[in-house]
């Protein structure tokens, strides 16, 4: 199992599938000789040519729509969004077209399309280039949403996304691109919809995904020094979401915390909370919910402001500790 960066793992999945399946191709802004704004497609054009690694004009609505059209005649396009924020320029194509075509035409068509690109803050790219918008898309029936935290997952889940007959949003956190890990270079895709317990614990369940998995795990280590033992669930895929895994965990720990980078208000944490509150885990809940999220602001630029926007290891650890101290002693 070679070690590689998250960016290389994403590339590896694309190259694997392109070598194997002539229907697969990628298009996007500056993905050819430039190698992509974050270098994810670096070198791919040399291997697969300009036709299958296709530079596009700056026209997100056009290229996402073109991805849909290509899928409708049997191709398997991957469209790179240079920053995932730019999906707004293609919102109609993503939501009114790609997501609905299968259902709306009575099952006569399917749109096998991957939209992938960098999400999240932490690079000083400011309000229009740093968003975490997954909550919008998990609210859209017909889309799948995948946000892996580790290189191996990125590769295996991207293989599954490319092979999926439905449109899949695949969000890569910018700060994960350089993270390294062992990656299985096989043909085996990882099924969408399975979460994973990254750490077992008994005091609380902390549900998280993407970059925040790493921060929560670091925070859990800090907490462990003070005798707190939290369970950490990495969702990996948000649609479909592994609700049974969370319910089961909360039944054991009795406490639910959720951590995501996206703006708290209306973030995916709300849906998770509601699902648990609706479930049989309700009777096991011993403490109020804790959400640790991005601030309710656009992402600010200046380093101290941006750092305050994002949940940091310290903020996560402190929030959890305050909460656990109050709730575990009380109950």
């Amino acid at each position: 199992m070679p070690e590689m960066t998250y960016a290389a793992a994403v590339r590896s999945a694309m190259e694997w599938e392109m070598a194997k399946d002539p229907r697969v191709f990628i298009m996007g802004e500056d993905i050819g000789v430039y190698g992509g704004a974050f270098g994810v497609t670096m070198g791919m054009v040399d291997r697969f040519g300009k036709t299958r690694v296709r530079d596009t004009p700056i026209a997100e609505e056009g290229i996402v729509g073109a991805g849909i059209g290509a899928a409708l005649v049997g191709m398997r396009p991957i469209v790179e969004l240079q920053f995932s924020d730019f999906i707004m320029n293609a919102m109609d194509q993503v939501v009114n077209q790609a997501a609905k075509i299968h259902f709306m035409f009575g099952g006569r068509m399917s749109v096998s399309l991957v939209l992938r690109g960098p999400a999240g803050a932490g690079t000083g790219a400011a309000a229009q280039h740093s968003q975490s918008l997954e909550a919008w898309f998990h609210h859209v029936p017909g889309l799948k949403v995948v946000m892996p935290a580790f290189p191996d997952d990125a590769r295996g889940l991207l293989l599954a996304a490319i092979r999926d007959p439905n449109p899949v949003l695949f969000y890569e956190h910018k700060l994960l691109y350089k993270v390294k890990g062992d990656v299985t270079e096989s043909d085996a895709a990882q099924p969408l919809g399975q979460g994973m317990i990254r750490r077992y614990g008994r005091h609380a369940t902390v549900v998280t995904y993407s970059l925040m998995v790493h921060r929560v795990l670091d925070a859990a280590l800090q907490l462990a020094k003070n005798g707190w033992d939290v369970e950490v669930i990495d969702l990996r895929s948000l649609v479909p979401m592994d609700i049974p895994l969370i319910v089961d965990s909360v039944k054991r720990t009795g406490r639910l915390a959720i951590c995501h980078e996206a703006v708290g208000r209306g973030g995916i944490g709300g849906e998770i909370a509601a699902r648990i509150l609706e479930s049989e885990a309700f009777d096991f809940l011993e403490a109020p919910l804790l959400r640790i999220t991005g601030l309710n602001t656009p992402v600010p630029y200046s380093p101290p402001l941006e750092a305050a926007f994002m949940p940091s290891v310290d903020r996560i650890a402190q929030s959890l500790e305050t909460w656990l101290t109050r709730e575990v002693v009380q109950s």
Binding site: G62, M75, G107
Partner: protein, 335 residues
């Protein structure tokens, strides 16, 4: 890759071909007249956009397609699907929301499309089919298949960003797509005179480097000729083309239109140049008997009546499986 009912042209004489067209146009007209009546009677749900008056455009343009070619359609899509050879029973059933409809009642008027015939979709969103058309053309080009895409758009759609981005992609990649602009003078109530600062919509194509022509959309021979030339050029690898077909919508934009933005006289004037009358006149001039033409018309009236009977006799769909229908369990056959 697809079963297609589109016949290639050469084997038909001009008279035979015109008879076919006349039949298709009668079918389109009668179909939409029937829908109009159903709405007036409150028998249909939702809204609809009738193609009455514009029959020559779809019929003439689609007549130039070959097996394997595809189209993208619009909110005003019944005519496109019928010209393609679509099943009017499944169309009528869809409009009545029945399980035997094209979309099993899920889609309705704006989402009728026979994908097996190469219709990649009617579309409720103005302009949204155009980038999709371009993507289909890209797929054909990448696979080096000889097919092309006919992308229908209204005049109003030309002011959407989607048109712009699609046109430019088609141009720079030399894609096999013909944009057919149905300039029926209005986007809902917005007149082309007020919504464009150019005299001819075809001139907009200049800004992308796409050759364009303007034709009389009430005259199927002109439409057919322009489309034949455009599709031929596209097939020869010369890249995209745009056709502005100047036409007129007789009925209101959708079911709730009081026609406050245009005059009765204007409507009357355009009706003088009815596209069905035009082809009929041609056929009579060629010696085809009026009775033969009437027979065709009546056969189509009959066919539409039967489609309506079929639809009305069809069961309502079952809501219990809706949530299972959202995601494709596996890839669907492609156009």
């Amino acid at each position: 890759m697809t079963r297609s009912l589109i016949e290639s042209q050469p084997k038909l004489s001009m008279i035979d071909q015109s008879l076919e067209w006349f039949r298709t146009m009668c079918r389109i007209r009668r179909f939409d007249e029937t829908i109009d009546e159903l709405f007036a009677q409150g028998k249909v749900h939702g809204t609809t956009h009738l193609y009455i008056g514009e029959e020559a455009v779809a019929t003439g343009a689609i007549a130039t397609l070959k097996p394997g070619d595809v189209i993208t359609s619009t909110h005003r899509g019944h005519g496109h699907n019928i010209a393609l050879g679509g099943d009017i029973r499944a169309m009528m059933a869809e409009l009545l929301g029945r399980s035997s409809g094209y979309c099993h009642g899920v889609g309705g008027s704006m989402h009728i499309a026979d994908q097996a015939l190469g219709n990649l979709g009617a579309n409720g969103i103005v302009g949204a089919g155009l980038p999709i058309a371009v993507g289909a053309a890209l797929g054909f080009q990448m696979r080096q298949e000889p097919h092309l895409v006919l992308a229908f758009a209204g005049d109003g759609a030309l002011n959407e960003g989607a048109f712009h981005e699609a046109a430019n992609l088609a141009a720079i990649w030399h894609l096999p797509v013909v944009f057919v602009v149905e300039n029926n003078q209005y986007g809902m109530s917005g007149s082309v005179k007020e919504m464009f600062a150019i005299g001819h919509l075809a001139d907009r194509a200049v800004g992308y480097g796409i050759p364009a022509t303007m034709v009389d959309g009430m005259d199927i021979f002109s439409v057919w000729e322009a489309a034949s030339q455009a599709t031929q050029e596209v097939r020869n690898g010369h890249g995209p083309r745009l056709i502005e077909a100047v036409t007129y919508r007789y009925k209101g934009h959708s079911k709730s239109d009081a026609n406050r933005y245009r005059t009765r006289e204007e409507i009357q004037q355009w009706r003088q140049r009815d596209p069905l009358d035009h082809v009929r006149q041609y056929l009579e001039d060629q010696g085809v008997e009026a009775a033969a033409l009437d027979r065709i018309r009546h056969e189509e009236i009959q066919a539409v009546a039967q489609a309506l009977e079929f639809a009305e006799a069809s069961p309502w769909p079952d809501a219990s499986t809706l949530e299972e229908a959202v995601y494709a369990p596996e890839e669907v056959d492609h156009a």
